[in-house]
C-alpha cells in the first residue's frame, strides 16, 4: 500500500487493490465476523440476533452449523431459522457432527451461519480447517456470518500463550480477518463474564475444566480483552486507510517499508515470523520470509525439513511473500536478497550461545549486521525457550570413514621417511616443506578432521624426529613453535577451503541438474505439436527427474478425463474426485496439502493467465518429498512449462481452424460471385425470348420465334448444367462425395458420356480408341461419367468445330489410363497446374463461356478414387488430359 507523496491522485497500486477487491466482492460472498475475547461473551447469540434481523428484512438465511450448547436463550433465537442438517463423519468409531459444505452449496442461500471459525475438521473431511470450508462457501457467492475468538488468530498465537500460559492450537490465518467485510466486536466487561461463568451460562468442554479455571482469571481476561479491542481497532484503521487511499485523501502515510525475516527450521523461526507479522502490521508494510538452503542444511534430517515447511506455510498464511534460495552462505544470501528486493528492515533473533563459540564462529546475526549497510536490523529476543532446543537442529554428520584416519597416519609416516632420507642434505626448515606437502595432500583428499590430525601428527613427528633435541618432544629453538602453528593452520585453512569448495560445487551441481531437467522438458515441449506428444514428453521427463508417477487430467464436460498417465498408475474414483475439486477450485489439493490430504497423489492445477487447462497429478516415491521445498519448486516450474505448452498447442489448433474457416469463406465468396453471374446470364436470354414471344405487339414471324425458342432452350440447358456443376462442387467441398465403387466396363463409361452430350456432338468428329480386352475397373460409374462429360465438354468448347477429338483408354499393371485429346489452343505452360483450380477460366478463345468448375470437379472426383489427373500440351497443338485410376 503506497501513496505517492507528490500528487493527490491515488496511486495505481491502491486503485488496483480497490478494483480487485470490488471485483472479488461482487463474485465472492461477504464475510461478517463476530469477534470475542473469550468463550461465553455472547458471540453466537449476537450472530443469531443479526441473522434474525436479516431474515425479517427478507433475506434468505440458513444456519449451517450453530452450536447452542444447550443454552436456552440461544436455542430460542434459532427458532424460525432454517437449519441445515449437519454431516455425520465417523472417526475412530464415533460419529461426529461436521459442517456439510455440499449441502450449503447446493442450498445456496443468501446468508449462511457458521459457528466456530477456528474449528479443526474431522480427519477425512474435504478440508483440514473450517475456515477453509468458509472460504469455499464464500467463493461460491454466499455470504457467511461466523464467530471466532481473538486468541485463534495466527499472528497473536504466541502472545496469547504468553499471557494465558495456555497454548491455543486451533488457529485461523489473519488473512481471513483482513478480507472480512465486517468485523463486529462482541464485548462485555470481564466481571460480567466471570459472573456468567459462575452462573453456568458459559459452555466449556469437560476435559478443559481445570484449564478453564486457569484461563478465566481476571488478569488474563483483561489482557485478552485489550488484545481484541486493539485488533478490531487495527482492522477499522485499515478500512479507513483503504477508503482514504482510493479517494486520494491525504493523510500521514509512513514511508514504504519492507521487512525480511529468515526461516531456518529452528523452533525460534515461528516466533520470529509472528513477530515480524506484528511489526509489519504496525508499520503497514509488506514483508517477506526467506529460507536459505545451504547444502549442509539440505542434508538435514526429516524433522527439520518438516519444520521449515511448516514455517514457510505459516508465513504465507500470515500474509508474507515466501521465497526459497539455494546458497552457500546464509548471511550473504540474505543481504543479497534484501538489497535486490528493496528490503528496509531485517528481523533476526538474538541467539544465546556461549561467548567462546561466538568468537570462533561468528553467528549469522552478527554477519548480517555487519553486511547490512543501509538496511535496519531488528534483533528480537527469543527468551522463554530453553537453550537446549538450539541443539535440536541435528546435522546428520557424515561419518568420517575410519580409513581416512589411517590414511593420515600413512601420510605422516611417508613424510617422515622421506625427510629421514633427505636429512643429511637439507636443513630442517626444508623438511618442514615435506610435512607441509603431506598436510596439503591430506587437506585436499581427506575431510577436515583427518586433515587436522595429519597436521598435528606432522608437527609431532617433525618435533620428535628432526628437531633438536631429536627423539624427544621438547623444543630447543622456540622459533619452531611458529613452524608448528603454521603447519597446523595451513592444514586447517586448506581443509576448510576445500570443504567449502566442495559444498559449493555440490550446490552448483544440484542446481545444474535442476536446470538441466527443466531444459530437457522445455526442449521436448517446444518440439511437441499436439497434446499427445506433450503428454509423452511430460511423463518421460518428470518421472525421470523426480522419480515420480504422473497423471494429466483434462476437463471433459462435467468430469475430469485422464489424458495421460504413467504405466502402472491407477486412479480410482476418489482420486478423480480430488482432481475434480482441484480443477474447479483452482487450487492445489491432495497429499501434502491441507485439502483432502488423504489422497494418494498431489494435484496441481495447470493454468496460464488466460485459462485453466487441467490438473497434474503427482505421486512421489517418498511421502516426505511432498513437503520438500526443493521438490515443490521443481514441480511448480514443471507445471508452468506444461501449461504454456498446452496453451500453445491449443492456440495453434485454433489458429489452424481460423485459417480453414477463412479459406472456406474465401471460396464461398467466390462461389457466390460466380453463381450470381452465371445464374443470371442464361436467364437473360430465356426471359428475353419468352417475353418477346408473349408480347403481342411485337410481330414475330415463325423463323424468328423459332430462333428465340432455340436460343432460350440452349440457355436453359446451360443453366441446368451449371446448376449441376454447382451441386457437384458443393458436395465435393463438403466432403459428402460418396463413392459407390463397382466393376465397370470402360467402354460403357465412354458410351454414357458420349450419350450425355449427344446433341453437342453433332457434326463433331470424336473417335474412341480402346485397347483390346480391357478389364472391368472398379469405380463409381455415375461420377466418372461426369468426369468424362466435363472433359469432353471442355474439348468441344475449346477446340475448333472442324478439329478432331480423341478418347483413349488403356491399362498397365497398376492403373487404368483414360485420355482426352483435342486440337484446341492448349493451355499456357505455366497454367497447366492451375487449370484444375476452382473458377479458373482460360483467357482465350473469346465467346467461350464456362464456369471454370468443370475441371476442378474432375480433379475432385478422380482424386477421391485415389487417382491422378494432369494436363499436358500436345506436340502439334492441343491439350491432352490424362486420368489415372488405380485398378
Amino acid at each position: 500500500m503506497s501513496l505517492s507523496h507528490e500528487g493527490m491522485r491515488p496511486s495505481p497500486e491502491a486503485m488496483l487493490k480497490a478494483a480487485q477487491a470490488e471485483e472479488r466482492g461482487e463474485e465472492r460472498g461477504k464475510l461478517k465476523i463476530f469477534l470475542g475475547y473469550a468463550a461465553g461473551v455472547g458471540k453466537t447469540y449476537t450472530m443469531l440476533e443479526a441473522a434474525r434481523q436479516q431474515q425479517q428484512a427478507g433475506r434468505d438465511v440458513v444456519a449451517a452449523y450453530v452450536e447452542s450448547h444447550g443454552r436456552a436463550e440461544t436455542d430460542a433465537l434459532l427458532e424460525g431459522l432454517e437449519i441445515l442438517p449437519k454431516a455425520q463423519r465417523e472417526y475412530q468409531g464415533v460419529l461426529l457432527p461436521e459442517l456439510d459444505i455440499d449441502a450449503a452449496l447446493a442450498r445456496k442461500p443468501q446468508i449462511v451461519l457458521i459457528d466456530e471459525l477456528a474449528h479443526t475438521n474431522v480427519l477425512g473431511s474435504r478440508h483440514e480447517k473450517r475456515w477453509q470450508d468458509v472460504e469455499e462457501i464464500l467463493a461460491a457467492g454466499i455470504d457467511v456470518y461466523t464467530t471466532v475468538n481473538v486468541q485463534h488468530f495466527e499472528s497473536l498465537n504466541d502472545i496469547v500463550t504468553q499471557i494465558t500460559g495456555i497454548a491455543v492450537r486451533e488457529t485461523v490465518p489473519d488473512s481471513i480477518l483482513d478480507r472480512a467485510t465486517e468485523v463486529k466486536l462482541v464485548d462485555i466487561p470481564p466481571e460480567e463474564l466471570l459472573q456468567r461463568l459462575r452462573q453456568g451460562k458459559v459452555y466449556l468442554p469437560e476435559q478443559a475444566a481445570w484449564a478453564a479455571q486457569k484461563f478465566f482469571r481476571p488478569g488474563n481476561l483483561i489482557a485478552l480483552r485489550e488484545l481484541s479491542l486493539r485488533r478490531t481497532a487495527a482492522w477499522v484503521d485499515d478500512e479507513m486507510r483503504t477508503y482514504m487511499e482510493t479517494r486520494a485523501i491525504p493523510g500521514p502515510w509512513p514511508v514504504t517499508e519492507r521487512l525480511l525475516v529468515c526461516a531456518s527450521g529452528s523452533p525460534f523461526s515461528e516466533k520470529l515470523i509472528r513477530t515480524t507479522r506484528r511489526l509489519a502490521d504496525e508499520l503497514k508494510a509488506q514483508w517477506v520470509t526467506v529460507y536459505i538452503e545451504t547444502p549442509s542444511l539440505a542434508r538435514q534430517q526429516q524433522e527439520n525439513r518438516e519444520r521449515v515447511w511448516h514455517d514457510l506455510r505459516l508465513a504465507e498464511s500470515l500474509g508474507a511473500e515466501v521465497a526459497t534460495i539455494t546458497a552457500t552462505s546464509v548471511a550473504e544470501a540474505v543481504i543479497e536478497y534484501a538489497v535486490r528486493h528493496n528490503v528496509t528492515r531485517i528481523v533476526v533473533g538474538k541467539p544465546a550461545k556461549s561467548r567462546w563459540i561466538e568468537i570462533l564462529r561468528p553467528p549469522i546475526v552478527d554477519q548480517i549486521i555487519r553486511l547490512s549497510g543501509a538496511i535496519h536490523v531488528h534483533v528480537v529476543s527469543i527468551n522463554g525457550a530453553p537453550q537446549k532446543t538450539e541443539r535440536q537442529i541435528v546435522k546428520s554428520k557424515q561419518a568420517v570413514p575410519w580409513f581416512q584416519y589411517l590414511a593420515s597416519l600413512v601420510l605422516v609416516a611417508a613424510a617422515t621417511a622421506l625427510s629421514g632420507l633427505v636429512m643429511p642434505f637439507l636443513s630442517p626448515t626444508n623438511m618442514v616443506m615435506i610435512y607441509l606437502l603431506a598436510v596439503v595432500v591430506a587437506a585436499v583428499q581427506l575431510s577436515l578432521k583427518p586433515a587436522m590430525l595429519t597436521a598435528a601428527l606432522g608437527v609431532l613427528a617433525f618435533d620428535f624426529f628432526f628437531v633438536a633435541p631429536r627423539w624427544t618432544f621438547t623444543v630447543n629453538d622456540t622459533e619452531y613453535i611458529f613452524t608448528f602453528l603454521g603447519l597446523f593452520s595451513v592444514g586447517v585453512v586448506i581443509s576448510t577451503l576445500v570443504a567449502k569448495a566442495r559444498e559449493r560445487a555440490e550446490a552448483l551441481r544440484e542446481r545444474e541438474l535442476q536446470t538441466e531437467s527443466l531444459y530437457y522438458l522445455s526442449r521436448d515441449l517446444a518440439a511437441a505439436v499436439d497434446m499427445g506428444s506433450i503428454m509423452a514428453a511430460v511423463i518421460k521427463n518428470i518421472s525421470e527427474t523426480l522419480d515420480a508417477q504422473l497423471a494429466i487430467l483434462i476437463p471433459h464436460g462435467e468430469q475430469m478425463d485422464i489424458a495421460a498417465i504413467s504405466k502402472d498408475l491407477i486412479l480410482d474414483n476418489k482420486e478423480l474426485a480430488v482432481a475434480d475439486w482441484s480443477f474447479r477450485n483452482r487450487r492445489q489439493a491432495g497429499v501434502g496439502t491441507e485439502t483432502l490430504g488423504s489422497a494418494q497423489l498431489l494435484y496441481l492445477p495447470l493454468h496460464t493467465t488466460a485459462c485453466f487447462l487441467g490438473v497434474l497429478g503427482v505421486k512421489l516415491e517418498k511421502i516426505a518429498d511432498y513437503r520438500s521445498p526443493h521438490h515443490r519448486r521443481l514441480l511448480d516450474a514443471f507445471v508452468t512449462q506444461i501449461s504454456l505448452a498446452m496453451e500453445r498447442v491449443h492456440l495453434a489448433q485454433q489458429a489452424e481452424q481460423a485459417q480453414v474457416l477463412q479459406a472456406r469463406e474465401t471460396l464461398e465468396r467466390a462461389l457466390l460471385n460466380s453463381i450470381s453471374h452465371d445464374l443470371r446470364t442464361p436467364l437473360v436470354s430465356i426471359i428475353g425470348a419468352l417475353s418477346s414471344l408473349r408480347d403481342e405487339h411485337l410481330q414475330i414471324n415463325d423463323t424468328r420465334s423459332q430462333d428465340l425458342l432455340n436460343g432460350a432452350w440452349d440457355e436453359a440447358e446451360r443453366l441446368n448444367r451449371f446448376v449441376g456443376n454447382l451441386l457437384d462442387m458443393t458436395r465435393l467441398e463438403a466432403g459428402e462425395l460418396r463413392i459407390n465403387k463397382e466393376p465397370c466396363d470402360v467402354q460403357d463409361l465412354i458410351g454414357c458420356s458420349l450419350a450425355a452430350l449427344e446433341q453437342k456432338l453433332e457434326g463433331r468428329d470424336v473417335s474412341v480408341k480402346l485397347t483390346e480386352g480391357l478389364p472391368l475397373v472398379s469405380m463409381d460409374m455415375v461420377l466418372m461419367t461426369q468426369v468424362l462429360v466435363n472433359l469432353l465438354d471442355n474439348a468441344l468448347k475449346y477446340s475448333p468445330a472442324d478439329s478432331f477429338i480423341e478418347i483413349r483408354a488403356q491399362t498397365n499393371t497398376k492403373y487404368l489410363i483414360v485420355e482426352m485429346l483435342d486440337r484446341g489452343p492448349g493451355v499456357p505452360e505455366h497454367d497447366l497446374q492451375r487449370v484444375f483450380d476452382k473458377f479458373y477460366r482460360l483467357p482465350v478463345p473469346e465467346g467461350v463461356n464456362g464456369t471454370g468448375l468443370g475441371l476442378s470437379i474432375c480433379k475432385g472426383i478422380v482424386e477421391a478414387h485415389q487417382g491422378t489427373i494432369l494436363a499436358e500440351n500436345r506436340s502439334g497443338g492441343g491439350l491432352r488430359i490424362t486420368c489415372q485410376l488405380p485398378l
Binding site: 449441376g724 466393376p743 465397370c744 466396363d745 467402354q747 458410351g751 472391368l776 455415375v782 461419367t785
Partner: protein, 232 residues
C-alpha cells in the same frame, strides 16, 4: 377433368403446382385423360377412384415417401408407375424401381422423353400377349424360334446372351435395374456379382452394335441399369 372412357388415363402426382401445370399442359393433347393428386395419401385414394392406366409419381412428396406409395399401390395393382426424380439421386431411383416402379424420368426432362415413356407403358399394359417377333431398326429378334438377325444375318449368341437379350427386348423401352436383370437371368445368388452382367452386356454390344462405344440398342442408364430401345 373429364372422364372419357376410351382415353388412356394418367394420374399425375406432384406437390409442386408449377410442375403439375407443365405436365397437364404437355399431356393435354387430347390423347389422355388426366387426373391429379398433390400428396401421397391423395395419390393412394386417387389410384383407387380414378383407376389410371399410368401413374406419374414424384418421389419428393411431403407426406409419404414415394417408395411407400409405390409399395402400397403394388399391394393391389400392377398399374405402370413412372417416377419423377432429380439428378444424382440414383440410389433413390433404384430403390423405387426395385420396389415396383416401372421407369423413371430425371428432372428436368423434355416432353418428348415423357411421351415416349408413357407410350411404352401404355403399350405394355394394353397388350395381352407379347409379340412373337421384335423388330427395331436393323435388328430382328424372333422369340418363338430363338433367332436373332442383324441386317438379315444370323447372330450367334450364347444361351446366356440370348436370355439377356430376350429379357431386355421383352421390356423394351422400360428400364431394368441391375438387380432385376441379375435376379431374373442368373438368380438371387448372383446379386453380388454385377460384373457377370457387365461382361455379358459388353459381349452383346460387340455382337449387335455397329459401334460398341456408341450403342444404339442397349442403352446404359448410369447407376441404375439398362434399357433396350423400343423406337427411334
Amino acid at each position: 377433368m373429364t372422364k372419357e372412357t376410351n382415353l388412356p388415363r394418367i394420374l399425375i402426382v406432384d406437390d409442386e403446382p408449377a410442375i403439375q401445370r407443365f405436365l397437364k399442359t404437355a399431356l393435354a393433347n387430347g390423347e389422355f385423360a388426366l387426373f391429379q393428386a398433390e400428396n401421397g395419401h391423395a395419390a393412394l385414394s386417387a389410384a383407387v377412384t380414378t383407376k389410371p392406366d399410368v401413374i406419374l409419381l414424384d418421389l419428393g412428396l411431403p407426406d409419404l415417401d414415394g417408395v411407400e406409395v409405390i409399395k402400397r399401390i403394388r399391394q393391389w395393382s400392377q398399374v405402370p408407375i413412372i417416377v419423377l426424380s432429380v439428378r444424382d439421386r440414383e440410389a433413390d431411383k433404384v430403390h423405387a424401381l426395385d420396389a415396383g416402379a416401372d421407369d423413371y424420368l430425371t428432372k428436368p426432362f423434355g416432353v418428348g422423353e415423357l411421351l415416349a415413356r408413357i407410350r411404352v407403358m401404355l403399350r405394355r399394359s394394353l397388350q395381352q400377349t407379347p409379340e412373337p417377333i421384335f423388330r427395331i431398326d436393323e435388328l430382328e429378334v424372333d422369340l418363338a424360334r430363338r433367332l436373332v438377325l442383324l441386317r438379315n444375318e444370323t447372330v450367334a449368341l450364347t444361351p446366356t446372351e440370348y436370355e439377356l437379350l430376350r429379357l431386355l427386348v421383352a421390356n423394351a423401352g422400360k428400364v431394368m435395374t441391375h438387380r432385376q436383370i441379375l435376379k431374373q437371368i442368373w438368380g438371387a445368388v448372383y446379386l453380388e456379382q454385377p460384373h457377370v452382367l457387365r461382361v455379358n452386356i459388353s459381349n452383346l454390344r460387340h455382337k449387335l452394335e455397329k459401334d460398341a462405344s456408341r450403342p444404339r440398342y442397349i442403352l446404359t442408364e448410369s447407376g441404375v441399369g439398362y434399357r433396350f430401345r423400343s423406337e427411334f
